[in-house]
Subunit: 212 residues, 2 copies
């Protein structure tokens, strides 16, 4: 794609022109090349960036503030692919505030699972907050259930990490950030669909009166 | 707990009085029993409902509109425990708009996995939207990876469903709705922590220069 005007850029990315201008003002999209006092041109890099923003907003449901962090993580390559995860997780959030006791409990769990390489924040805080919330709802989670969830999600993570392209660092970064965000709705949808299968097996599909 | 005033109710649930009044105005919390023209009393049911709202808001991140649907699902018991899932999933959302082609692709996948009992909406729409988003981000998901995700999330769902209390229908409904929402952050946190393990195994924890 050669240099195009903002209207054409917007059309190709399927984003309203007003929204493109908003992203430019917010600095999410770099400025175009000025061709006159009032006109700028945009290139292939702008289009790719705009498409990425669209996907992260629509599917990932990211706010403008989170988007800024995620794009910064993509723009500033960390020192190693392992560091990349920390940058991506920090950018993506959430960053819940949790009590020291809850954090301590989460740390104990990691130790039990022999997960020594886990970065303390923010995924650990997210785990602590989730456990607190479940407890606050009056639900008791047996250790065996927690262990099983950890085992299964670790296997999911193995599949995720196995897909990261290792040839081009820029692609790896983009993949980790978008993959972490975009695969979440996929996995949650699969879990819900799995509930139907599991529920049919446990309760039967045709039981109409057992909740009376 | 005997009848208490709104200030005491708010204190016990750890929710600001202004927020309790807001929930009353919005109809999320049923009105108290009037003891004079300007005073009402609240009981144990109000407290439990208020605690549930607090957890669903803070941990589940539900909007007031979603909360209304979720509470309605809890209040109106469906005909069977299997129906319960449809009610809960519909209440919880999301309800993305997807193309017929995307829906068709998602349906084909369910057929491939031999998941005949899956309710078409909204979990199917969520799956279709997630796949569309991943594709739009330029990520190609091999069939083998999708199959593996489905297998693992099905196993997660089996654990979920196995925990549903079957003695009291009211408890079962509450569990399915809160569990679907509250376990999501838990599972996603475990996946992120699992990334650290998987990443250390694939790339090593000490590689500093491989992203240069």
């Amino acid at each position: 794609m050669g240099g195009v005007r903002i209207s054409e850029l917007a059309r190709r990315a399927d984003v309203p022109v007003g929204t493109v201008k908003y992203y430019l003002r917010e600095g999410l999209l770099p400025a175009g090349t000025l061709t006159s006092a009032t006109q700028a041109q945009y290139d292939e890099d702008h289009l790719r960036r705009l498409e990425l923003i669209r996907v992260l907003t629509n599917v990932g449901g990211l706010s403008i503030a989170s988007m800024r962090d995620v794009l910064a993580a993509i723009d500033h390559q960390p020192r190693s692919r392992h560091d990349l995860l920390g940058t991506a997780h920090t950018a993506i959030g959430p960053h819940p505030t949790v009590s020291p006791a809850a954090l301590d409990r989460a740390t104990q769990l990691l130790r039990r699972w022999n997960w020594p390489d886990a970065e303390p924040a923010p995924a650990l805080a997210q785990l602590a907050a989730a456990l607190e919330g479940i407890e606050a709802a009056g639900i008791t989670l047996p250790d065996a259930v927690l262990d099983r969830y950890a085992e299964l999600m670790h296997q999911v993570a193995e599949v995720d990490v196995g897909m990261v392209p290792i040839e081009l660092p820029a692609d790896a970064i983009r993949f980790v950030v978008t993959g972490t965000v975009l695969f979440e709705p996929l996995l949650l949808a699969l879990r819900k669909l799995g509930h139907w299968q599991a529920s049919a097996r446990r309760f039967g599909p045709d039981v109409e009166d057992d909740a009376e």
